[in-house]
Amino acid sequence: MKNLKFIIIFLIIFSFNFSNAQDIDLQSKISKNLRCLICQGQSIHDSDSEFANSIKILVANKLNEGFSEKQIYDYLKGKYGEWISYDPEFNKNTYFLWLLPILMFLIGGAIIAKLFIIKKN
């Protein structure tokens, strides 16, 4: 009887682990994109702190409730501010962030093109 109980519990744990394999990918992806706010430069995924572990559980819960990836980010940003997300949004604060490199690329291209055009003339 005792053996049977043990086996049943064992199988439940076993199957629980197995079914989570797919969700874990999305979970990992999300937690890699979140900053551990009490650590010095680690993501939630990489950190083992209490805060990080709680966030990981929260992400798992929200995913189970049917939240989409974006919704989870928005939810956490609502609680903790933009700082928690490693992917900066494209809003009025970050126009320069995203566009300046592209601008530099175009300027570089223009300079090089000028060098070739000079030759033609």
């Binding site: 706010l37 805060f51 572990n53 709680s54 559980i57 929260l58 609680k79 501010g81």
Partner: protein
Amino acid sequence: MKFKILPIFFTIIFLIIFLIFYKGLQNPNIYTPKNNIQKNIPSFKVRIFDTTNEINSKEIFKDNQFYLMNIWASWCVPCRDEHTFLLDLNDQKNIKIIGLNYKDNNRSAKKFLKELGNPYNVILLDEDGTIAIEWGAYGVPESFLIYNKKIIKKIIGPLNENLLQEIKELIE
């Protein structure tokens, strides 16, 4: 005159960059999200400590008075230090202290309270830390001063004499 523009341009740019870095050094590097002040308290369901009962957040903070929500744990060393201030605060008439027991062990938590005293009107249970996240907390200890279902003040870290005075003044 044309070739003078470029050096002047770059000099100005670097001056601006210098000033920004200079100002950046002055800023303290502690991050406190501004959006917690005057924000509504989160709505959630939570278990009461040492029972299997659940309670809704609306019921906890329903009265028209001040509440202090304090996140604590028996394994948290600074929580011991702030406990005396909590007991002091509990003696005040117009404030109720609600505790949130964070990622703790039932026995150790009870021992903690037995040893140091229990200032809490109600103690809520946060086994995995997700309730604390609802509040936008980072860990323990943290406290929230609440009135009229809004967060008036957020305190990160343990209470001390100064903060206690501040709270006392606010709740007058």
